[in-house]
């Protein structure tokens, strides 16, 4: 029996492995694969080869280290069943992280509003601290973080664009005699910064913002701080 043509299948498979198929084409692909049957070696080779191509494309991007403790957290989640414990998904932690950002946004909003109208408002959500950075730059920027934790988020309004090819970079100083440590870069969108994630030290006495070359910033400040605040 003559082999069924694979031209249309190949066109659908390449888009499928790139996750670019529209729903109608995804259905068409499944129908064609079913017509060819699971024993079609050509279909299997096309899928296998192109999936490898797509997987290899991932290497174009630089790897990013997993956060501290990620491997152990994964192992704990993986082995819960063996220990007879209920299995929360890792996404529970993810949902927690998204709630953290939402709570941090509330804390920041309180801080920004307090700064705008000159009042100290009601206590922020438990465990969170805010630092309002001030200086020569227009707008307001608030760092929300939890003491002892390295994760933080920036919230701001009215910030100017840093300029073509430039980014804002946050720094923290672990101690008075230490150098500034890069905490992350961010760029406002229409003047706003909404939860830009940064990594601060567990202890620091000063935070500051400078304008640095984009897209990744600098290992050490190359310009004077435009915003800063003591911790």
């Amino acid at each position: 029996m003559a082999e069924r043509p694979h031209d249309e299948l190949e066109e659908l498979i390449v888009a499928d492995v790139l996750d670019g198929l529209d729903p109608a084409d995804a259905e068409r692909l499944q129908r064609l694969l079913a017509e060819h049957g699971p024993e079609c070696l050509r279909c299997r080779a096309l899928q296998s080869d192109y999936r490898d191509v797509a997987g290899t494309l991932a290497l174009v991007v630089d790897p990013v280290p997993m956060s501290e403790g990620a491997e152990d957290a994964l192992m704990r989640a993986a082995t819960r069943r063996a220990r007879g414990e209920p299995e929360p998904t890792v996404s529970t932690r993810g949902r927690g992280a998204r709630r953290w950002v939402a709570v941090a946004a509330v804390a920041a909003a309180i801080a920004v509003l307090a700064g705008a109208i000159g009042y100290r408002l009601a206590p922020k959500p438990a465990g969170f601290r805010t630092i309002t950075l001030q200086g020569t730059a227009q707008g307001q920027l608030v760092l929300v973080y939890q003491p002892g934790q390295t994760r933080g988020n920036l919230f701001g309004t009215g910030l100017a664009d840093p300029g073509a090819g430039k980014v804002y970079e946050l720094w923290y100083r672990p101690s008075p005699d230490a150098n500034m440590v890069p905490a992350g870069v961010f760029t406002p969108s229409e003047g706003a910064v909404q939860g830009a994630p940064v990594t601060v030290g567990k202890d620091f006495d000063l935070v500051a913002v400078t304008v640095e070359p984009g897209p990744d910033g600098s290992p050490q400040p190359t310009s004077q701080p435009i915003l800063s605040a003591p911790a």
């Binding site: 996750d19 080869d49 290497l59 991007v61 990013v64 280290p65 491997e71 993986a78 069943r81």
Partner: protein, 188 residues
């Protein structure tokens, strides 16, 4: 199906051992591909903690059902990274749909890409080859691949964005992937 390389053979052995509950094998896979996977996910979702969550869930799925990987699906690396990519694209499209329903403006992506050091010579070598292969693609084809794979866009979305017929997007996708397949799969 033929093993493509020594690396693939080792990865398949690790997956087989994961199937036997071997935690060290699972850790080895995570250490080897976790950072690469996070880089891919981060490129799409733009939030470090969300990228990490996607990677962790993909690996957790592998632990719970190692038989989800079958040799006819290609290399372990390709299957793992494709799984992560698929989850990241799903998340991006869900969030975009939610924002459209809520009438919210598109969020501008916030970059949070950290510099990482690659200590695997083989991955470094492959990375150079992939970048070279992408660089050799005609600009029109490379643009399609970048929008689809690294931008998480569907073919129809790309056609609309570039004001191209859908058929043109499909044919450029196919041509690009054929070139990459010749360059990468046959040589890696």
């Amino acid at each position: 199906m033929a093993v493509r390389s020594i690396e693939d053979a080792r990865d398949r052995d690790l997956v087989r051992r994961v199937g036997n509950g071997d935690e060290q094998a699972f850790r080895a896979l995570f250490r080897r591909y976790g950072p690469v996977a996070k880089g891919v996910a981060l490129r799409l979702v733009r939030q470090a903690f969300m990228a990490e969550e996607i990677v962790q869930e993909a690996f957790l799925a592998l632990w719970r059902d190692p038989s989800a990987y079958r040799e006819e699906l290609g290399t372990v690396r390709g299957w793992l990274l494709s799984t992560v990519h698929h989850r990241a694209v799903d998340m991006v499209r869900r969030e975009e749909a939610q924002r459209r329903r809520a009438g919210e403006p598109q969020r501008e992506a916030l970059e949070d890409i950290a510099q990482a050091v690659v200590d695997e010579v083989h991955l470094q070598d492959t990375r150079s080859r992939v970048r070279e292969a992408m660089g050799e693609l005609p600009e029109a084809q490379r643009q399609i691949i970048e929008l689809m794979y690294f931008g998480g866009k569907s073919q129809s979305a790309i056609a609309a964005e570039l004001d191209l017929p859908l058929g043109t997007v499909k044919s450029r996708t196919l041509l690009a992937m054929r070139r990459l397949r010749t360059k990468l799969v046959d040589e890696v």
